[in-house]
């Protein structure tokens, strides 16, 4: 099922650290509509935990969190509520 997810916006925030990982993710999710999906590529280990957690707190859905290689994570968030 996950392979079928349509991605509406992608951001690459490799090199960013907290809290800018969240700042950039938050700004990106504001740019999509409810029901659309944001894919975040990041390499800051703490953010792989904190960004999905913050997105849940904002009311969005974490569809995927996957370590794709020794340094990088992919996180997919579906926007569930208006900003």
């Amino acid at each position: 099922m996950m392979e079928d997810t349509k991605i509406d916006k992608k951001i690459n925030i490799k090199g960013e650290v907290c809290p800018y990982t969240l700042v950039k993710s938050k700004l990106a999710i504001e740019e999509i509509e409810v029901g659309q999906v944001l894919e975040i590529l990041l390499d800051y280990p703490e953010a792989a935990e904190s960004v999905p957690k913050a997105m849940l707190n904002y009311g969005h859905m974490v569809l995927k969190k996957e370590k794709i290689n020794p340094s990088d994570w992919i996180i997919q968030i579906r926007k569930e509520v208006e900003d």
């Binding site: 809290p19 800018y20 700042v23 938050k26 700004l27 504001e30 904002y58 900003d83």
Partner: protein, 266 residues
């Protein structure tokens, strides 16, 4: 407008708040706030609104900085003694946040200049130190339908209220006329705890940001009273007065009157 990397850093703690976000921060950047008085209240209000990134902040004051101001007027310093207060605060605010367009107006507000001076601003903050000005600002904001965040301080007690003309009472609904000169002492006569305007000014700045963001409940129809000695906050309801001379059903105040200068300064 996209945020620069510097702005992302500067406003990061706002952007990650769900109630603010990038959209709210842009509203803040687009807002124009007019502050009457660059004294005890105007300093902290302007300071925090500058830090928050309010796009345009006008400060109006005709006095010069004196040593006796520095106990509470935190935007001034020994380096700006003798300078106009609006200019002094502008210097301080510009070094805090160059994003903000700070406009210093070296003048005293009166019935002839007020409407023209404040008409292009979204929100008015009253940080004045005397009743005639407080009433003049109230009446002008009612006439122009401008949100007004009013604050007052004396000794260990401060008050705040938010006036949204057309949507709640105004200052005259609470007290129809100013008290006679001499009845209420000024800070110069009675003293004021230096930190008190910091508390009240921070509350005023909070109200301003809430109005800009359209979040929370504004302090309308209520007077918040802070008693520093007892550490008490209490809210007093202000009913809208249908017979209010300025915002009532049949207003009798249709033009602004000038105020006497017999009130002394803060």
């Amino acid at each position: 407008m996209d945020f620069s990397e510097e702005q992302l850093k500067r406003y990061s703690r706002h952007i990650i708040l769900p109630e603010v976000g990038g959209k709210g921060q842009k509203k803040i950047s687009g807002a124009k706030v007019f502050i009457i008085g660059a004294g005890g209240l105007g300093c902290p209000v302007g300071y925090y609104l500058t830090a928050a990134g309010v796009g345009t902040i006008a400060l109006m004051d005709n006095d010069v900085v004196e040593l006796s101001n520095l106990q509470r007027q935190i935007a001034h310093s020994v380096k700006t003694l003798g300078f106009n207060k609006a200019d002094s605060a502008k210097n301080t605010f510009e070094s805090l946040n160059p994003d903000v367009n700070v406009i210093a107006i070296r003048d005293r507000i009166n019935n002839k200049n007020i409407l023209e001076i404040i008409k292009d601003y979204d929100i008015i903050v009253d940080g004045s130190d005397n009743f005639p000005t407080r009433y003049l600002v109230n009446d002008a904001c009612v006439m122009l339908k401008k949100p007004l965040v009013s604050g007052a301080i004396l000794r260990f007690e401060g008050q705040v209220t938010t006036i949204l003309p057309g949507d709640g009472p105004c200052y005259r609904c609470l007290f129809e006329e100013p008290p006679p000169p001499g009845l209420v002492p000024s800070c110069q006569e009675a003293g004021v705890l230096g930190v008190l305007p910091g508390v009240i000014g921070a509350l005023q700045a909070t109200e301003v940001l809430k109005i800009i963001l359209g979040k929370g409940s504004p302090l309308k129809g209520q007077l918040l009273i802070y008693d520093a000695l007892g550490t008490n906050f209490r809210k007093v309801k202000i009913p809208k007065n249908p017979g209010c001379p300025v915002c009532g059903e049949n207003p009798t105040i249709k033009e602004l009157t000038d105020h006497p200068e017999e009130y002394c300064e803060l």
